[in-house]
Symmetry: C2
Subunit: 450 residues, 2 copies
């Protein structure tokens, strides 16, 4: 196994000449044209890739890894000796009859990311068995099967992938698994959870989407806790449906379980980045006592998958437009001319846009586009009957989407057009509460942790 | 004055026949084709407008007013007698030498909104003297001058208006006023506060933007408290610069003072909708003890307006694009072909977009567009050196905008192109901290109330 982490080619020669080994503290002095660049940190192992033979990987003090191109002119000083890190791969434990069956599907993302040796940045590289060996406690919680669906950053995930993952989930459910964990990048995790909430059409078991905000080679990684909690939730939870399970707070005590249509990534880097919006989390998982507590009685129960079928199609011809001062109506005319079928507007406040957009919106709707209105405020709800701007938008034919998140509305409209052609039918679908995407009004008035 | 509130024409006849008076509880039964519609509520006064003679205004139980078109076929039942509401206009109090001079500039919005009798919705209709008579306590706080700049909903406010208001503010500052209050609709209040933060180029006195989330005819209105607090802050505060003053919480105790570049409307309807993002509020105003407490020492002090000049120009050819799964690269090609000068992307997570957009972004940048990256997470900061997607974006020439709000970044880029032609100069401006639009990193790591 050790060979996996060794350098080859020119790098190997240069490192050997300097007697530098993986794990050592190093100081690299690099020639960059007429000037010098100094990089200090821990020399990291690397996974062999053909393109990368000129790069070494150094973990900086900040915890981030950088890839550094070295050549024969590079000076390497060893400022401290270390021991080479290694991955152990324990044998998988025997299955226990009384534990639930959980399938962990891997799609990529930080939850199992490795270093990209070309750019020195973190890149997804997922092997589901590795996950199990990294989190041995999984064996106490569930009999885990692993499957790799893809190995991509979530920013590259879109409608075709949503269909693929929905179909993969359906197969696993039919096999009789008790719960499914989907390991996924956090960037678009909430879009995918909304997409699966509609495509899976009231699934009979828990589908738990999970990611990590810090990669597993950092001390602050949340990959192991999140994987553990999501597997426990998938195996034991009484509810059926699509949720996201992520840290409720920065400490390793509680994992919040958010409904798939009511959740948003609200922080770029914190472990507790995900928040339920206009509602409370569905449940909390206590990492210390390893117990799940439901936060409400209002949820679908687990059931047999009889009479269940999925609706995995999406039509990507829907555009999300965030209104802003100075926004030209040209963008709406362009979308209409280009063949978009629907627009989701993120209006200001209760759901407003400048009156300079009215005639283009009217034309779009006359051309058969469905135009829905959400609020860029994030919290609260669209109300188009309070101000004259809203009344004018209603008259034009813009449909209010109340407290639905704009991201959820976008995904829902793509799904609606994947299943229906007629704008009137799509409008009706947009106004039907299919997966708890609309909240009870009272809940909205009371909640506001933004 | 009473005439202002009376009905005329056909409405007057119908109401007189039914002996219905303003203030009465009424039940209107309306013929609508073959069916009937029933509206119940309080008969409200109306302000005469030529187009509205067929409409009466009824305040529903919900607190909202609706305009109802009535005709000779309308049945009107009086279900309770009431008294006609009236506005008193006390004489303005004499000026007091020891009080600061404050100028309240009115632009429109809910803070002084009235009912639109055509649609029954709330419409801005602002008279600054009215404000004074509605909030008599103002006379204890400052010698108030009022000026009306415009009377428009803030969703219709854009770059030309920002220039106009900056010029109006400059004139008032040169006259020697101690502080300025700008009454403005809340929908785009944060965009305007960012715009003024750059256009006013380190103003020498406090410029306090204020709005109201509930109109003054509702019991829960925040118009009076907000106007009172913002006038006190403008007159007394030790700081110079552009801020937004709005409720810190739903109760009438504390007004939070947010820096103009670091604030966002985060709720569609709550009185405490505005939040400082990636930083704490600059100060708090205690409504009960009428005192201002600074929350930090890190602020510009009041000074004489010597050597001060404004930079009021904006170029609206900048587009904000919120990245989402399935987003077609066509929108970037369209913006490039259309003559946009800059794009502000709301990327996912640390500032990512799908790799399917890379070649269009590269083309845009080669064509001279400036492309900045913010995060749609809202909280946290863009970091393009962590993942390979970010490194690729840096290589293409996308510039990271760290923890700047996307709304602020959009406005700043419009302002930068209003003052500079060269993309390289605009990039440099975008990376210079001109009005506290970037936070200290430590602050960001600790703060996260989203």
């Amino acid at each position: 196994m050790a060979n996996d982490f060794q350098y080859t080619g020119q790098c190997k020669e240069i490192l050997e000449t300097a007697d530098a080994r993986v794990g050592d503290k190093v100081r690299l002095v690099l020639k960059r044209g007429d000037s010098q660049e100094v990089v200090e940190g821990l020399l990291m192992p690397r996974f062999a890739t053909k393109d990368d033979e000129d790069y070494v990987v150094v973990k900086l003090k900040t915890g981030y890894n950088v890839g550094v191109r070295i050549d024969s002119g590079t000076k390497i000083e060893i400022t401290g000796k270390g021991t080479e890190p290694h991955f152990s791969r324990p044998e998988l434990p025997p299955r226990q009859q009384d534990l639930p069956k959980v399938c962990i599907m891997s799609t990529g993302g930080t939850i199992a990311s490795r270093v990209d040796y070309r750019t020195g940045a973190v890149k997804p590289a997922l092997d589901a068995d590795d996950l199990h060996s990294v989190v041995p406690e999984l064996a106490q919680i569930a009999n885990v099967d692993a499957s790799i669906i893809s190995n991509i950053f979530s920013e590259n995930i879109g409608p075709p992938f949503w269909s693929k993952i929905a179909e993969s989930i359906e197969k696993e459910v039919r096999k009789g698994t008790d719960g499914i964990v989907v390991a996924h990048g956090t960037d678009t995790l909430a879009y995918t959870s909304a997409a699966l909430s509609f495509a899976l059409n009231k699934p009979p078991i828990p589908i738990v989407l999970v990611g990590a905000q810090r990669s597993s080679d950092r001390p602050s990684s949340d990959a192991a806790t999140n994987l553990l909690a999501s597997s426990a939730i998938a195996g034991q939870a009484p509810f059926a449906g699509v949720v996201i399970a992520m840290h409720d707070w920065i400490s390793d005590e509680t994992i919040a379980v958010h409904r798939g249509t009511k959740v948003r990534k609200c922080h770029a880097s914190r472990r507790d980045a995900f928040r339920s919006v206009n509602t409370s989390p569905l449940a909390y998982y206590d990492l210390i006592h390893r117990s799940l507590k439901m936060n409400t009685d209002d949820y679908d129960r687990r059931r047999k998958p009889n009479d269940w079928s999925i609706k995995p199609k999406f039509d990507p011809n829907v555009l999300l437009i965030k209104f802003h001062p100075g926004l030209s109506a040209g963008i709406i005319d362009w979308a209409t001319a280009t063949g978009y079928k629907g627009l989701v507007l993120e209006g200001s406040g209760l759901g407003h846009v400048s009156e300079s957009l009215f005639s283009s919106l009217e034309r779009a709707i006359k051309n058969g586009l469905v135009v829905g209105m959400c609020s860029q405020c994030i919290w609260g709800r669209v109300q188009l009957n309070v101000y004259s701007t809203g009344r004018d938008l209603l008259r034009i034919g813009v449909i209010p989407l109340y407290d639905m998140l704009s991201e959820t509305a976008l995904v829902k409209m793509m799904w609606a057009f994947g299943n229906e052609r007629e704008p009137e039918n799509v409008k009706q679908i947009m106004h039907t509460n299919l997966a708890q995407e609309f909240s009870d009004r009272r809940v909205i008035e009371e909640k506001h942790d933004g």
